[in-house]
Assembly symmetry: C2
Homo-oligomer: 183 residues x 2
Amino acid sequence: MLKYALLGFLNYLSASGYDLKQLMDVSTSNFWHAKQSQIYTTLKKLEGEGMVVSHVEPQESRPNRRVYQITEAGQAHLREWLDQPLMVIEPRKETLLLKLFFSAQLDPQAILTQLRLQRNLHQADLEKYQTATRDVISQFAASTDMADDAQLWEAARRFGELYEEMFIRWLDETIALVEGWEA
Amino acid sequence: MLKYALLGFLNYLSASGYDLKQLMDVSTSNFWHAKQSQIYTTLKKLEGEGMVVSHVEPQESRPNRRVYQITEAGQAHLREWLDQPLMVIEPRKETLLLKLFFSAQLDPQAILTQLRLQRNLHQADLEKYQTATRDVISQFAASTDMADDAQLWEAARRFGELYEEMFIRWLDETIALVEGWEA
DNA sequence: ATTATGATATATAAAAGTTTATATAAAGGA
DNA sequence: TCCTTTATATAAACTTTTATATATCATAAT
C-alpha cells in the first residue's frame, strides 16, 4: 500500500526519500504513515519495477540527494489503483480497546488513569488537526491552482478531526462508566 | 500484540486455536483481528515461551482438538501488559482516505461511486454492532456473573458503533462536497 | 571557546508481524 | 454431488518496525 502513497506524491512532484517522509508526516500521517527505512526500501523496489527513476543531485555542505521521478508505467499503476473501488472495510487495530476489553481484573483507578492519559493525547491531536494541519492545507491551496486537490486534502483532514472528536466522546462515556463503579 | 489478545481470552477459559478464532471474530473483530494461521503460530510460540500449555483432546467424528491453557507465567505476562498504560496514540491506516487524497485526477462520478459503495458497507457494519454484536454481549453478561467484564465489552462495542456513525457522517459530508463539483 | 543537539540526507541488517496459499480429513446438509 | 463446517498445520511471501551506520552544518547551551 505504501507504494501507492509514494507514487501518489511523486505524481505531483519529484522528491527524495527524505522529502517524501516529511511530506507524509505533515499530510497523510492522519491516515497513512511509514518509517524512513520502509520509504527508502520501497523506493528502491519501485525503481526495480520501473515505476520510478532516480538520479543523484550533488549538494555542497549537505549529503547528496537521490531524487525520484515517476515514470509512465508508475502513473498507469497509480491510476489503476485509484480507479478500482475499495470493496471492503479496512479492519481496525486499536490497542487501547484491546487492553480495555481484558481490563476488568484491574483496579478501577488504574483503568481511569489509562483512559484519562489517552484523553489528553487525543485532545492534543484534535487541536493539531484544527490548527497546524488546517493551516498547511489552506496555505498550499492558496499557493497553487489545485482547488479540487486541496478540497480532498481538507476532507482527509476533516476525517482526523471527526475521528478525534468521536474518540474523546467515547473516552468521556467510558470514564463516566468506570467512575460509577466506585460509588 | 496478538499474543496479549490470546492470553486475554485464555485467562477466561481454555480454548483451541479454532475456538480463539471464533471468539475473536464475534467479540474483538471491531478493534483487533487475526488470521487463523497467525493464531496457530502465535499459540505455538507462546507455548515455547511457557505462557501456555496444551493437550490434545481426541474427538469422535471430528478432528482432534489441541486445547491451550494459560500458565501462571502467562497470567503474569498479561497482567504486566494490562498494568502499563498506553502512552501513545495508535497511528491509523485507512486505505479509503489514502485513495481519496490522490483522487483529484479522477472523474467526480468515479469518486462518488467509490464513496457511496463505502457508505453501504459502513451502514451494514453499524447495524451489525447495533444488533448482532449487542446481543452476543448482553447474552453473555446475563449468563455469567461478570458484570464489570460485560460492561467493558459493551464499551468496546460502543466504540464500533460511534466509529461507524462518525465514518458515515464524514462520507455524507464528502459526498456532498464532490456532488457540488458537478454543478 | 567548546560541547551538545538537531536538522539534513541516505542506506542496510535483522527482527517481528501479518497475509496468502495450500494441505489434510470427515461429517452433514443442500 | 457439492458446499459448508469442524479442526490443525506449515511454507512462502509480504509488510513493517527497530536498530545501526555514516557525514556535515547550524544553532543552542555550557
